[in-house]
Amino acid sequence: MRNKLNLPADRVAYARSLAERITAPVQDFIDGHSSVTVERATLRLAGADGANSDGVPVPNLVVDRIRAADPTALEDGATLRYVNALVKTGGTVQALNDKIAAGFDVTSMSLGDRKAIEAKADELVAASLRRVKENRGFREGKLEEWKGRNNSPLLYLIVATGNIYEDVKQAAAAAEQGADVIAVIRTTAQSLLDYVPYGATTEGFGGTFATQENFRIMRAALDEVGEKQRRYIRLTNYASGLCMPEIAAMGAVERLDMMLNDSMYGILFRDINMYRTFVDQKFSRMINAYAGIIINTGEDNYLTTSDAFEKAYTVLASQFLNERFAFQAGLEARFQGLGHAFEMDPTIKNGFMYELAEAQMAREIFPEHPLKYMPPTKFMSGDIFKGVAMNTLFNFVSKATDQGIHLLGMLTEAIHTPFMMDRFLAVDNARYVMNYVDGFYDDIEFKQDGIVVGRAHQVLKETIDFMELVEKTGMFDAIEQGLFAEVKRPKDGGKGFEGLVKKGPAYYNPFESGLMRELGLKR
């Protein structure tokens, strides 16, 4: 990595220290709390799966029963009750799940021998961590075996038919065309569901439900094309919304490779309660960290919501915060796919120079991070020919600044979710451009008093100003006052607040402690 922008290292370090200070009180809060979905995620790791005849998933049934029986019982963690039932009934996890789905209430059984419960739990923890570790090993083996056969940056395509079986066809075609990463877009508003649907699904709006079975189906399909292409095809889904940790758990078990996972997306763009989101993101990231799953953060959303030129600093500030939260969850830099986007108004004079500056800045400030770069979307229109031109320049900047994960822009972005042909044209364009400008990154330098360098310095400065304000205000108040993304979110407002759980003194979560141990986390 060559440093071309001459950014002041001490200011960058200062911004990182601001991030540390800003997030410290949040971390304190997180440490003292769990949530319904953290508990359900734990149950899932323990083996809870399936759904009742109304489609209510077993993890929800367990957690809801515990709460219904005693509103404070979750303070002790849900695992205790589930494993207790398992020990007492003496059957398999599967048998217990079936029973629960059929109406059995785990709280109906009195707590048995603590030792026996803990021993059983440790066994479950060991088994599930082993499975996740094996997945990670398999992925790393394949990446080693087929080294050098992926594109750089990785080309990332979405499928969004709403039907997992159609998705599979589109994904296979996309991979054959050259995609390295397939993301299955989630159905509209799944992030607002406080449960994860069960089984294979064929009806989604603008996307497909994230379910464990759907994960499994897509994983198998991509492994198949991967073998043919001798290229590891990464699978991505969304661990945002009200079920962050559960989806992370499902992904770890089904060997997903990337997860959309932002520390504040749910709060700002989905109106999910802030406390809930902070708690959930931590546990989900611990799972991702252990699974070797790359997270993709959602800074692009700031730029589609507000003006991309004026609010560039919000992206950098968010990257620093996401980085800090990720480190605190044990996620190394190389798994932090920090987000940003090419979203400036195409009529801005020197827009290209500014985009180049910001992408290069991200590269230099986050040198080990597999930056996730998002294409133009907001200013895409029905003019598909202009769209191709915008995507061409976007592809250019991405290669010219050595980004890590490259989301392909669609010429029909403003019209419909991508057709198969749209996706092909996107890959084809990217491969043309990236091969044609291959050496740009190493060959080109910027005038030290020029537009590119000037822009990067300015954005860094604005970022620090902004972070200082957030630090002074305090994170929770800053969000409440609308400092982020121009939306105000009341502390106890938003969805899912009621799902927050204060950990009791006897809080028991052997998965959490297992993960902390494995990740070497102190708190």
Partner: protein, 243 residues
């Protein structure tokens, strides 16, 4: 009667560019199939100028066709709540002062599960869009923007509460016709409450045409490129008319 045909580089040459995918392998046979398909749409002539495999079983085509069909331009009726005659912000405020004589109240939201705020913000929020201020900036209007993901029920309650003259709803996601379901539900709810006629109902979004909106029971619909003053012009004129 004014006969109009597509124009390539000579009047009435009828040239049209097409592209599409077929679920067949790429090759000579696929290209011929593509050509025949284009001819089956009534094109007199078609050249498939490009084909490419998308996978072993799918292929894409670019073609140019020549059509002889035409339409009578004079008989075409524009579908859009035309922006041609919109007043600007000052004009709207002046109009309100002269013809209505009190503040006009509007309530807006992006309803259902739709989370796209930018469109409704463009119409309502202070700063507006593309150098057109939003309705909040209009001195003679009182505007409430409830944001996105707002249930229809809540929006209606709010409108009743603040005695709104007009309700604005935005729908951006149209996959599987979600917008139609949601807009229909909105009208049904209003009718069930017996308050349909209390409000001017405005729908908007990039895929919302005036025609569609009217069909679904709204007073008007605005698509891509609408500005606050277009909407305001419609509302205040309609309001004056109603009185």
């Amino acid at each position: 009667m004014k006969v109009v045909r597509p124009y390539g580089d000579t009047m009435d040459d009828g040239k049209v560019q097409l592209s599409f995918t077929l679920p067949v392998p790429d090759g000579a046979k696929g290209r011929e199939a593509a050509r025949k398909l284009v001819l089956s749409w009534g094109f007199k002539d078609c050249e498939v100028v490009h084909s490419n495999p998308l996978s072993a079983e799918y292929s894409m085509y670019v073609a140019y066709g020549k059509t002889e069909s035409s339409i009578d331009y004079d008989s075409v009726v524009a579908d859009e709540a035309s922006a041609d005659a919109s007043m600007d912000m000052d004009g709207v405020n002046e109009y309100i002062r002269q013809h209505i004589g009190r503040k006009v109240v509007i309530v807006g939201a992006c309803t259902g599960f739709d989370a796209h705020t930018v469109g409704i913000d463009a119409i309502i929020n202070m700063k507006g869009y593309n150098h057109h201020f939003g309705l909040e900036r209009y001195p003679e209007m009182e505007a409430f923007n409830l944001g996105a993901q707002v249930p229809n029920e809540r929006l209606i309650e709010y409108a009743i509460k603040v005695k709104a003259d007009a309700i604005l709803i935005s729908q951006v996601v149209t996959q599987k016709d979600t917008h139609i379901h949601n807009m229909t539900e909105f009208i049904e709810l209003l009718e069930a409450k017996g308050v349909r006629d209390k409000f001017i109902l405005v729908a908007g979004g990039p895929r919302i045409g005036n025609k569609l909106a009217v069909e679904l029971g709204f007073d008007v619909g605005f698509g891509r490129g609408a500005y606050a003053n277009d909407v305001a012009t419609y509302i205040v004129k309609k309001l004056a008319e109603k009185k």
